[in-house]
């Protein structure tokens, strides 16, 4: 261990040797208790699911046979598939733009350091969490019933459900921001909005941009499901191939999707590098400003040009999307009555439709979620760290790790699920395994991005005193990313608890499966009951996450 205290030369060194071990505090005790509790939860869940590793090795041949049938990937009409993919991408962009417009104000209201009051904060957080608790497909089904089949309900469904993620992570980015610039803005007499715009926004925008692009990626893959309810696009083609067991054709479509999300990932990496490398400030200002006026606007640095350029591009894509998909946003307002009417059919929530099976399903869902998350964390944290610039020991490792994470993300849930059905058969274990592997695409990405946003100071300090790779990782990187690791891991638990597609396909049941069955059979009151139940669970996870993040910060 490179203790800075030992390396420091000097007469200035205090005579009393600082303690090598930090003292035992109440916080330490609380953290230990939390870790033990989490462990107990993982152990209980794993025991209840009969987790065994031998099951995986025995199924290797069957998986080989399945993959044999999937290869080689086949793309019959590349032109048409690409057209469909672009159409779907536009749907995803529109949905994400809508979600961002809704999420930014919600995030400011929900964040601890910017929310105006406890009541408003709780309310804003409730709205965000609710959007997460309602699956996009359920939003879609309800909106299709209210507005008829078309692209607009699909866009709205993606947008509303995305608020659940974007609102949450935007708010967390605000909470993690440095209060300094804000106080500086306030000291100059800036109003409240100016204070947020000048003091907070510039700090959170790099994180927001990558989250925004990431959400487009998620929505592109989600709209694969929405294609089914009439939203069109590549989703219909992919689902048709997958569910008809024409896997080679499905894989060809997956390759097209992979290329698109890889392109977006590169765009996101490029933009983040531009925004995270701070330009040398103020060089241009004096040179271009006329002598007698005081210019307070920022200079047109490369970073600023990129920022404005991408904003203009996004606006153009959004407008193009509205026209190309023939969407009339006014339709939302004309169908508000019908939408409210549909939403009203979920009330009063009913919990009794399947009797005790609901409790069993909830417990099973929780057990699967906990096991999948634990395994997912073990798999994704090392991979995610290697996919972060400050950590990767070599560019090859960096690109390898990024590509792995991206590749996992591109695999449709149905494929992941049937691979594990072939390996270990139908049931909760296959579901947990498929979710765990799928977690790599999600958590790996979040970990990688968080590790790239760390303060480079400590890293340089450790390097300066001759610290090696492991020492840099353990003393400079990990301590800085722990709060976000904790937050992301619990977010993964939240995601895995809400997962329903994978669990449905592997016959593992759970509340997600019941929810879709309820919607499919038009039992909306029961659907309302399940949504409420999931909402409560998600709120509890969220609270735990907030508490833990404060403990490790």
């Amino acid at each position: 261990m490179a203790e800075p205290g030992h390396a420091g030369p000097g007469p200035a060194r205090p005579p009393v040797r600082p303690p090598v071990r930090p003292p035992l505090t109440a916080r330490h005790a609380r953290l230990t208790a939390a870790v033990l509790l989490a462990l107990a939860a993982v152990v209980t869940s794993a025991v209840s699911l009969d987790v065994s590793l031998t099951a995986f090795t025995e199924g290797a041949e069957d998986v080989g046979n399945l993959i044999d049938r999937m290869l080689p990937a086949r793309l019959d009409e590349p032109g048409r598939i690409v057209d469909l993919a672009v159409e779907t991408l536009l749907i995803a962009v529109l949905g994400t733009v809508l979600a961002t417009v809704l999420s930014v104000p919600l995030a400011f209201l929900a964040a601890r350091n910017t929310g105006p009051g406890r009541l408003v904060r709780t309310g804003a957080r409730g709205v965000i969490t609710f959007c997460r608790a309602v699956p996009d497909l359920v939003f879609a089904v309800l909106l299709v019933r209210a507005m008829g089949i078309g692209v607009l309900p699909g866009v709205l469904a993606l947008g509303l459900h995305s608020v659940g993620m974007l609102g949450k992570v935007f708010a967390e980015a605000i909470e993690d921001s440095d209060p300094g610039p804000r106080e500086a803005a306030r000291a100059t007499g800036a109003g409240r909005l100016q204070e947020l715009a000048a003091g907070v926004l510039p700090q959170v925008v790099p994180a927001w941009i990558s989250l925004f692009v990431y959400r487009i990626d998620i929505n592109l893959r989600t709209s694969v499901v929405l294609g089914f309810v009439g939203a069109g696009g590549i989703g219909f083609a992919l689902q048709d191939a997958l569910r008809g067991l024409v896997y080679d054709r499905a894989l060809g479509i997956v390759v097209v999707i992979l290329v698109i999300i890889a392109g977006m990932e590169l765009l996101s990496i490029g933009l983040r590098r531009l925004l995270l490398t701070r330009p040398v400030a103020g060089r241009a200002a004096g040179a271009t400003a006329p002598r007698d006026t005081v210019r307070v606007t920022a200079p047109w640095s490369r970073e600023r040009i990129a920022r404005f350029g991408s904003a203009a591009l996004l606006a153009a894509v959004t407008v193009h999307g509205l026209f190309a998909l023939e969407i009339d946003p006014r339709e939302v307002f004309t169908s508000l009555d019908d939408i409210a009417d549909m939403a009203g059919r979920m009330l009063p929530p009913d919990f009794t439709a399947v009797g005790g099976a609901l409790t069993t399903a909830l417990l099973e869902t929780l057990a699967i979620g906990v096991v999948a998350t634990a395994a997912g964390v073990v798999l994704s944290i090392p991979l995610g760290l290697l996919a972060a610039h400050p950590v990767a020991p070599h560019p090859l490792v960096y690109w390898g790790a990024r590509a792995t994470i991206l590749g996992v993300r591109a695999i449709p849930e149905l494929v992941l699920a049937i691979v594990f059905v072939a390996a270990i058969g139908l049931g909760p274990l296959a579901g947990a395994a498929a979710l765990a592997v799928g977690s790599v695409g999600f958590l790996g990405k979040l970990v990688a991005d968080a590790a790239e946003e760390i303060d480079p100071g400590p890293l340089e300090a450790v390097r300066a005193v001759g610290g090696g790779w492991w020492q840099r990782l353990s003393t400079a990187v990990v301590p800085q990313v722990v709060p976000s690791l904790v937050g992301s891991s619990l977010y993964l638990l939240d995601v895995n608890i809400r997962a329903s597609t994978v669990l449905g396909i592997v016959g593992a049941g759970g509340v997600g499966f019941l929810l879709f069955e309820a919607v499919r059979t038009l039992n909306f009151a029961f659907a309302g009951g399940i949504v409420l139940l999931v909402f409560v669970v998600v709120i509890v996870v969220e609270r735990c996450s907030g508490w833990l993040r404060r403990q490790v910060r």
Partner: protein, 322 residues
């Protein structure tokens, strides 16, 4: 920051415990065999069909019957998709499955080694089999036959459904609305929507979400009328399919001839409402599986040749051997 460094100790502990746990968890559950070489635990898989609010209810009497007669424990798995059930069959993780006729032929095409045990019949003395309807709203004068489906929003059930996709797509191909049931031709001829269930499809047509759609006859003539969701005359039948062979139970061939024969006898002689009610395993009305069937009658692979023929007329890639 100190706290987070300290946090690594417990985290490492957690990790090692987890690994230990997963490593030690395996090994148990080597099943004892029941009679006739049947495994001690039989995995029965199905996808939910219609009245899913009952979820497993339609299978409970069957499960109890199998347990009573063979001594085997039955593990029931309900998957949301045929892909899961079929892959489970192919890999040998599913012992008995309830499949639609189309899913049965697709499973065989993809290399599943399965033997039909019997097909479900709607009532005693009636042969296994059913029909599919092409539907539109009762007062829709613009649609009078499949030819009028061209270019409209049309609800199907699911790409793996026999009466909700395969036979309708064959009908549409014959009517010249689509060139084939391949995805690109299907979307060129009309705007397809997969509603997810026969009830959802029929009700989507009723609500006007789809201008036309397809659903199996018992759903339209009976189930939805009994449940009050649909009244006589709400939907107009503009097309009726030829008779579709019944949905069937299959067993994994690897169970062995003796075992499959024993299961065949069990299913075709005793898996019916009369026997089950006589044994007190089922209350009246005793409706089995998600299709609300009376019971299981004998079926052979040859009974499904008509499905293969219809599949061929759709020229779909789903009907080619995988």
């Amino acid at each position: 920051m100190n706290a987070s460094v300290r946090g690594r100790g417990p985290a490492a502990l957690a990790l090692s415990c987890l690994l230990l746990l997963t490593a030690c968890g395996g090994g148990d559950g080597e099943d004892a065999t029941a009679e006739d070489g049947l495994p001690g635990t039989l995995v029965l898989a199905a996808i939910p069909n219609e009245n899913s609010t009952d979820l497993a209810a339609g299978y409970e009497p069957l499960i109890e019957l199998i347990t009573q007669e063979t001594g085997a424990e039955v593990e029931f798995r309900q998957a949301s998709d045929y892909a899961g059930v079929v892959e489970g069959l192919i890999a040998g993780h599913v012992d008995i499955a309830f499949l639609g006729p189309f899913a049965y032929t697709v499973a065989l095409d993809n290399g599943a080694e399965i033997t039909p045990l019997g097909a479900v019949a709607p009532a005693e003395g009636v042969p296994a089999g059913y029909r599919s309807y092409g539907l539109t709203q009762g007062d829709n004068d613009a649609i009078d036959g499949l030819a009028d489906f061209a270019g409209r929003d049309v609800c199907f059930v699911d790409p793996g459904s026999t009466s909700g996709f395969l036979y309708p797509s064959a009908g549409l191909t014959e009517a010249g609305v689509i060139d084939s049931a391949r995805e690109e031709d299907l979307t060129a001829g009309l705007r397809p929507v997969y509603a997810g269930g026969h009830d959802a499809s029929a009700l989507a047509v009723l609500n006007g979400d789809c201008e036309a759609g397809f659903a199996m006859e018992s759903m339209v003539d009976q189930t939805l009328i009994d449940s009050g969701d649909l009244a006589e005359g709400d939907l107009k039948k503009v097309w009726t399919s030829e008779v579709i062979p019944g949905s069937l139970f299959v067993a994994r061939s690897e169970l062995g001839e003796a075992a499959t024969e024993r299961l065949t006898t069990l299913f075709t002689e005793r898996a019916n409402a009369d026997h089950l009610m006589g044994e007190g395993l089922c209350d009246s009305p005793c409706l089995l599986t998600g299709e609300e069937a009376w019971g299981v009658v004998p079926a052979t692979d040859a009974d499904y040749d008509s499905v293969r023929r219809v599949c061929a007329t759709t020229r779909s890639d789903k009907c080619e051997e995988g």
